[in-house]
């Protein structure tokens, strides 16, 4: 019972990030001080992050960076960072933050603004990714990795049906499905799937549908703008997909991995997913039935190419950190072309350095880079709002109701608009 009573307190009372050293909060704003720092990042699954830190540490023996590994789960990472900030602890110096957290962290002044002239390479990075690190036109971080949605498609089946190019619009995609269904190889194939379970992936897929139809969820000034004919067209496209069976019913339970499995089992003609699927679906160890049989293209849209949602991570500086000058230098080091190239080739995480997408040796290693470049270049960030947790929950609620219960799309969007207006304070 005591546990229940104190559930909410866990977040505030039991923060263990502070290691007893005094708070550095008073120096927030000025990027000063040199010495050892820490990097708070999600689990280093590839092991390459530690390699990069070793490279930095070898060159800067007095300004070493220590890796503070956080859990694998993004929500758990955010929770630890929030606790750390609320304790005003200096345990974390540089934070690896998800692109959707920037507004919340900046508005709470948990992270420190970075003057744009202190990041010399900013102009070399893909502009859309830099936008994710901004709050109210001020830069709060530097994007180091990015991510964009890709359309995976069964090239073998399309070729057999006499189709040479990947579809660029939704109508073309549906027409291609019809053509493939008429061929012997297309029997029993489902047409298309994305991620439609009620979680962050649904926000991503819904945003892409709305943006690809020319709409937006939050406009350029940060105001909700989802009750529009364009947004309606986007939502209806998904809804019709479920109604007609072009999107299989099971897709309402799909997260990234479930949808990847369906594609790898040869049950799907088209799949929207992130670049990580590419190497997994090409594995020839028997885990994938479609190795070598698929290709990728940018996402399709309503009347032309679609618009992807942006993923990825920014490196930001905790307001309560010591040695912020070192932190900034370190971020610039991680953003450099050499480090990003190294990281891409070893971990396949999408870089933010624009020219890397045109590097022939890298394209040889990752054949999807040109399509990914196109996807990221035109990508839109998900709503950049302070109460992102509430906003994404509201979006998921609306989209899930429309897709799983078939609620009236117009009324759903009107209700969502009202809800978002109450959540987003001007």
């Amino acid at each position: 019972m005591a546990v229940a009573g104190s559930l909410a307190l866990l977040a505030t009372a039991c923060g263990s990030g502070d290691d007893g050293s005094s708070s550095g909060g008073s120096t927030a704003g000025a990027l000063e001080g040199r010495g050892p720092i820490t990097l708070a990042s999600g689990k280093d699954t590839s092991g390459n992050l530690q390699n990069q830190l070793n490279a930095w540490n070898a060159k800067h023996p007095n300004e070493k960076v220590e890796l503070k590994e956080l859990p694998d789960d993004a929500d758990a990472q955010r929770q630890q960072m929030v606790q750390n900030a609320q304790n005003q602890s200096d345990a974390y110096s540089v934070l690896v933050t998800d692109v959707v957290w920037t507004s919340e962290f900046a508005a709470n002044q948990w992270i420190t603004p970075i003057p744009e002239d202190k990041v010399p390479d900013l102009g070399k990075l893909v502009p859309a990714t830099v936008e994710t690190a901004k709050y109210r036109d001020k830069l709060y971080g530097v994007p180091i990795t990015s991510d964009g949605g890709l359309l995976y498609y069964r090239k073998d089946l399309l070729t057999a049906a006499g189709i040479t190019d990947a579809p660029k619009t939704w109508d073309e995609l549906l027409a291609d499905c019809q053509k493939v269904a008429a061929t012997p190889g297309g029997k029993g194939m489902n047409c298309y799937a994305g991620q439609f379970e009620k979680y962050e992936g649904l926000t991503v897929n819904f945003s892409e549908a709305v943006n690809s139809a020319g709409g937006s969820i939050v406009d350029k000034d940060g105001k909700p703008d989802v009750d529009t004919p364009q947004a309606l067209a986007g939502l209806q496209e998904l809804q019709n997909g479920f109604k007609t069976g072009a999107i299989p019913k099971a897709a309402i339970t799909y997260k990234e991995e479930e949808s990847r499995r369906a594609f790898q089992d040869g049950k799907l003609l088209f799949l929207r997913n992130w670049p990580y699927v590419y190497s997994l679906a090409n594995k020839t160890d028997g885990s994938s039935k479609i190795a070598g049989k698929f290709a990728v293209a940018p996402l399709p849209g309503k009347d032309g190419p679609g618009v992807s949602s942006l993923g990825g991570h920014d490196y930001t500086i905790s307001s309560f950190a010591k040695n912020k000058a070192t932190a900034l230098d370190f971020i610039n080091f991680m953003a450099s072309e050499a480090q990003q190239k190294d990281n891409l080739s070893k971990t396949s995480l999408a870089p933010t350095w624009a020219s890397l997408y045109d590097d022939p040796t890298l394209i040889k290693q990752f054949p999807y880079l040109p399509q990914l470049k196109a996807s990221i270049a035109t990508a839109q960030p998900r709503p950049r709002v302070v109460k992102y947790g509430d906003v994404t929950a509201a979006i998921q609620q609306a989209a899930y109701d429309a897709l799983s219960k078939g609620s009236d799309p117009k009324a759903t969007l009107t209700a969502l608009q009202t809800k978002l207006q109450s959540l987003i304070t001007p």
Binding site: M1, A2, V3, A4, G5, S6, L7, A8, L9, L10, A11, T12, A13, D75, Q79, V82, Q86, A106, A107, N108, Q109, Y135, R136, E197, K198, Y199, K249, A250, I252, T253, Y254, E258, R261, A262, V386, K387, G389, D390, A393, Q396, Q397, S404, K405, T425
Partner: protein, 355 residues
């Protein structure tokens, strides 16, 4: 087998009870206070402080307004009972009552199923047969698995192309809104915690002396009669404690629906999940209010359970007449040796089980 221990205990117990009302002398009292103080201090720190702190927190709110520069205004404001009133208003009120219903529904259905299955498991485990050790161990495996891990296991079973759908030969989308997601939570929770009730009841069964059964047999009692007239009444103290623990646990159910079905699903959203949701969005005041409401609900249910069924949680009613619940907790009655042996607290039962 265990009959000798409780019977031998009797003479030693009787004088202890008669001593109870007697006053301690001053020195003993001081020593007792001194010896107890570390425990009280720790209890105060880990139980009392969080509760009071949560109550205090629930009266404040913070971080709701932005200043002209887009920064969140710092500091918290005292809002009185507003956080509590907000819980019952409008949309949030609808969500609250839905979660309240889900929580209660899960508690009633799961605990009933778990009790029936748990008692059945205990009866099986209690029987002497070859390979009993293996059966006991295997029945306890689900209880040993962390809830989140078992939730992931069941998620895998219940996915669209999972084992459950293969078995029933239909495509049920278990994680979508509706009865199926509720059912999946009930199945997974019952699977995991029925062994807990089984274990505690088994311990209770082992303290029932064989003579009672022999006497029943001699009198020609049927198996059903033996079960309802001897086994159940004598195992009742252990069973009630087990059921109470399960009720308290299930009222706080969080991780299973959260991992198995997912957050923000109306069909399985529980009160703990509402509190978590508020805390996750750094609204600690409302989160504490939700947690306090849940705390009160749990406390009321626990109190009612103890009063109505006379569950002997702390073993104080050692001498109480079995089956004589209904507020009879304060009465101390004389009873025969057989009843006394069964009317032991869980701790004694567990020890008796090893005898």
């Amino acid at each position: 087998m265990t009959v000798t221990a409780p019977v031998a205990e009797r003479p030693a117990k009787e004088p202890k009870q008669s001593k109870r009302p007697q006053r301690f002398n001053e020195g003993t009292g001081r020593l007792a206070a001194l010896l107890l103080s570390p425990t009280l201090l720790v209890l105060g720190l880990v139980v009392l402080f969080p509760i009071i702190s949560a109550l205090r927190e629930s009266l404040f709110t913070s971080g709701t307004k932005l200043d002209a520069n887009g920064f969140i205004v710092k500091g918290s404001t005292f809002v009185g009972l507003d956080n509590y009133l907000d819980i019952f208003k409008g949309d949030t009120g609808h969500r609250f009552w839905n979660a309240f219903y889900n929580t209660t529904f899960f508690t009633v259905v799961c605990v009933v199923l778990e009790t029936v299955l748990g008692v059945a498991m205990a009866l099986i485990m209690h029987k002497a047969f070859k390979g009993r050790g293996i059966v006991r161990a295997s029945i306890l495996v689900p209880w040993a698995i962390p809830t989140v891990v078992s939730a992931l296991l069941w998620k895998w079973i219940f996915q669209a192309d999972g084992v459950a759908n293969q078995l029933i030969g239909a495509q049920v989308l278990w994680s979508t809104e509706g009865w199926q997601s509720k059912l999946s939570v009930i199945i997974a929770d019952t699977w995991k915690t029925a062994p807990f009730i089984g274990l505690l009841v088994l311990a209770g069964l082992q303290t029932i002396p064989a003579e009672v059964y022999e006497a029943a047999k001699v009198d020609g009692a049927s198996v059903w009669k033996t079960f309802t007239r001897i086994t159940l009444p004598l195992v009742k103290p252990a069973l009630l404690v087990a059921v109470l623990f399960r009720i308290l646990d299930t009222l706080r159910i969080f991780d299973l629906p959260f991992v198995l079905v997912g957050p923000h699903k109306d069909s399985v959203e529980t009160l703990s999940m509402l509190a978590y949701d508020q805390a996750f969005n750094t609204r600690y005041g409302p989160a504490a209010a939700y947690a306090t409401v849940l705390f009160i609900y749990v406390a009321v249910v626990a109190y009612a359970f103890v009063r109505i069924l006379g569950a002997d949680v702390i073993g104080e009613a050692r001498a109480k007449k079995p089956g004589g619940g209904g507020g009879g907790g304060k009465r101390w009655k004389k009873k025969n040796a057989v009843k006394g042996s069964a009317d032991t607290s869980v701790g004694a039962v567990a020890m008796g089980g090893g005898a």
